[in-house]
Amino acid sequence: MASNGIRDRVAIVGMGCTSFGERWDKSTSDLLVDAATEATTSAGVDVKDIDAFWLGTLFSGQSGLTLSRPLKIDYKPVSRLENYCATGSEAFRNACYAVASGAYDIAMAIGVEKLKDSGFSGLPSTRSVGDGTAAAMTAPAMFSLLAPAYAKKYGVSDEQLKDVMTRIAWKNHKNGALNPRAQFRKEVPKDTIACSPLVAGPLGIFDCSGVSDGSAAAIIVRAEDAHRYTDRPLYVKALSFVAGPAAGPIDPDYDYTTFNEVVASAADAYAQAGIKDPRQELAMAEVHDCFTPTELVLMEDLGFAARGTGWKEVLAGTFDLEGELAVNPDGGLKSFGHPIGASGLRMLFECWLQLRGEAGKRQIASVARGRKLALTHNLGGAPGECVSFVSVVGSERS
């Protein structure tokens, strides 16, 4: 893949993240002002010091005016973009490239989503009905297609698979209980998770991420300028984004036990960052746990577990906060819900805290032992037809 990357050319010098949840008290504009203000304060800059802005949102506004109006940005470039559930990551990626190109000295990536005001369960529909022939599946139904396919391929019984899914939800809620910004801040007993009402296939309510409102933001500068803003910047090691041919739903060769797009974006990101063994080199990973089977499959697609063994590693606690490789130490989408434009930057915010040693009760021990890299993974779409983003950030410039 001719992906050259921009390893160590830009750095994150400030971040902000609102608390996520049913923010009946805050509008989209309020959430944007809160996240932007926390990010600029964190970097010690003012909004007027920022040269360009990338705003990610799927449903909560169109055009740069969605951000420039509440922030009162004076005649600067503001791009609004979306890329399904990877929208927040896409805002970050584009802001990084703008700074790396030399076009701007300082950029802001910000994501927001206000989902709860619609009053619906789950996500509103995004696509036009067109000729009316696409199966009207909800998001949990699309991702639940993974479960029977994975179980059949690897000889896992329905009961074992349910245990694996339950343990992923239990682990993420356990982590989220330690996070003051999470939507759900308490541990959930495994019995409660396993016996929750079914939503789609074997997925119960607790196998699904919540619906919430939130916003997160990052300030990006050239790596050589980073120390003018903070003594502990995060350097961008890799940014990979791929859109697949959406072949899964029409190609019988796809078996619904993997995301080919994730495999491709992970390989690209590891090459950019010079990572050989992610499980041994990363301090942590924030992955797109929209539904519990997604996190299971991602453990294999991201190279954290060999094919067909992810379920055993989950049960063994490999990805627990105290495990060999902490996955979703902040609680993940499970604890935060998924305000689409914000999620990718919320994941990055946990890397920011963990690699700087500021994660409090959630602080991962391996950072103190010298692990300096963190990964975020964000995907949008459905099994067989998705977009995937992988980033690697690090606390040291090589």
Partner: protein, 467 residues
């Protein structure tokens, strides 16, 4: 010689036990079951299924379709064009509706028989009635289709007679969901002589006596008159056809056709079949089967479809017909399909036509312009998959999605000979679906939004009797 080339019938999968009506309403409702169109079926989709069966048996392309029903899915828009599209007929084939009354069906049969070139009559009905009433319990939903033309015919028309008369037996003002009926004995008074006269005249034209009739079918919405005309016809007792009341019910505009199809399914060569339709008059036709009859027998007979059935509760039946309004999920309402997009996709949406890459042979469902395997551009040839079986690769039961009959079962299915599609399943028990199960495609009405019916195909478990 012009005559019957092929026939096909469709009896939907669901059955309502009349005892379930009695249990719910606390009043006797008789015994047996009635056939029930599913929540995703209407007279048009029932008609498509019957017509597919007939055309599979004959492999002749009709030059005209006459679609008859007393319960049209649309007014002011032709329903026969939907049937035409689902059968993938050429634009040059005409498509006409004959709507609103049970007698429309006799007219469609007559028009198709008298037409030039191969012509298809499609008769379908969904019978509704007020809760606890005779129409509800004794009605049934079904369709039948008959292809007429020249060539190697399966049955030859020997005689035909019509009797018309203006009188009030059953009626319904447009917009109402239920019909009304005059006092039953008045109907009998009018119908019996009309039926008697029509049958006698048709037999006379045919040059056969009543005692020579091998099968007598008398069908119509007035059950008492049907029985009386049968009783005084003079045919042999063993010639009297089963009226299908016990298992299917009276299927209105489809019923004479359904009984005729059932008779043809089991007929031997050289038999005389007399068909009398009693509906606002009488129409009688006398047929003689030919040596070709056995070869034209459809893969799925009426008897096989009656045997392949699943129960539906009374509450679900009322919900499906729109008579019991249920709380919807907290999800956005379904959106109607867009007319231009549906028109552009006619071959795909209505005929389930995919494409095959002429460069590498990969089949695509839905049709693509760029090959998913070899990436060749615009090297596709259309390929219809409506009669191709498939195997479930994976599936889910979606309990959140909007449906008239939740939960929605969605399966990823791989077709024999290549191609994969992700679609809804129907006539299925969510508890029994598994990877590796075989399915077949069926034409359905997915939902209706803003008064627009969204027709498309679903997968269903292979139904018993389908060869």
């Amino acid at each position: 010689m012009r005559g019957l080339l092929a026939w096909g019938a469709y009896v939907p999968y669901a059955r309502l036990d009349r005892k379930a009506i009695a249990a719910a309403l606390g009043a006797s409702a008789g015994s047996g079951t009635r056939a029930v169109a599913s929540y995703d079926e209407d007279s048009t989709s029932l008609g498509v299924e019957a017509a597919r069966s007939a055309l599979r048996a004959a492999r002749v392309t009709p030059e005209a379709i006459y679609f008859a029903t007393a319960d049209p899915a649309y007014l002011d828009k032709t329903n026969a064009t939907t049937v035409h599209a689902a059968l993938d007929l050429p634009a040059g084939a005409a498509a006409y509706d004959m709507l609103g009354s049970v007698r429309s069906a006799a007219g469609a049969l007559r028009a198709a028989l008298d037409a030039r070139g191969p012509a298809l009559a499609v008769l379908a009905d969904v019978r509704t009635g007020l809760a606890g009433g005779a129409d509800e319990r004794e009605g049934g939903d079904a369709a039948a289709a008959f292809l007429f033309g020249e060539g190697e015919i399966a049955a030859e028309p020997l005689g035909h007679a019509s009797q018309s008369s203006e009188f009030l037996d059953r009626w319904r003002v447009p917009g109402e969901a239920f019909s009304r009926q005059w006092e039953e004995r008045f109907g009998e008074h009018v119908y019996v002589p009309l039926g008697e006269t029509a049958l006698a005249e048709a037999l006379k034209q045919a040059g056969v006596t009543a005692s020579a009739v091998d099968v007598l079918i008398v069908a119509g919405p007035h059950a008492r008159s049907n029985k009386r005309v049968t009783a005084i016809s003079g045919v042999k007792k063993e010639a009297i056809a089963d009226d299908l009341a016990a298992g299917v019910g009276n299927t209105g505009a489809a019923h004479a056709g359904l009984m005729l199809a059932a008779a043809l399914d089991t007929a031997r060569a050289g038999q005389i079949i007399a068909l009398v339709s009693l509906a606002d008059g009488a129409d009688a036709t006398v047929w003689r089967t030919t040596d070709a009859i056995a070869a034209r027998r459809p893969a799925s007979t009426v008897a096989a479809q009656i045997a392949s059935a699943g129960p539906v509760s009374y509450a679900t039946f009322l919900t499906w017909r729109g008579f019991l309004r249920r709380e919807p999920p907290r999800r956005p309402d379904p959106q109607p399909p867009e007319a231009p997009a549906a028109a552009r996709a006619e071959g795909w949406k209505y005929a389930f036509t995919g494409s095959r890459c002429q460069a590498c042979g990969t089949r695509h469902v839905p049709p693509q312009r760029v090959c998913v395997k070899c990436h060749a551009v615009d090297r596709m040839a259309p390929e219809r998959l409506s009669d191709v079986r498939a195997t479930i690769a994976t599936f889910t039961v979606d309990r959140l999605a909007y449906s008239m009959s939740p939960p929605v079962v969605v399966a990823v299915v791989d077709f024999e000979g290549g191609g994969r599609f992700q679609c809804e399943m129907t006539d299925v028990d969510p508890k029994t679906v598994k990877i590796g199960d075989q399915v077949e495609m069926t034409f359905r009405r997915l939902y209706t939004a803003n008064g627009i019916h969204n027709y498309f195909w679903k997968a269903r478990p292979i139904r018993g009797g389908n060869g």
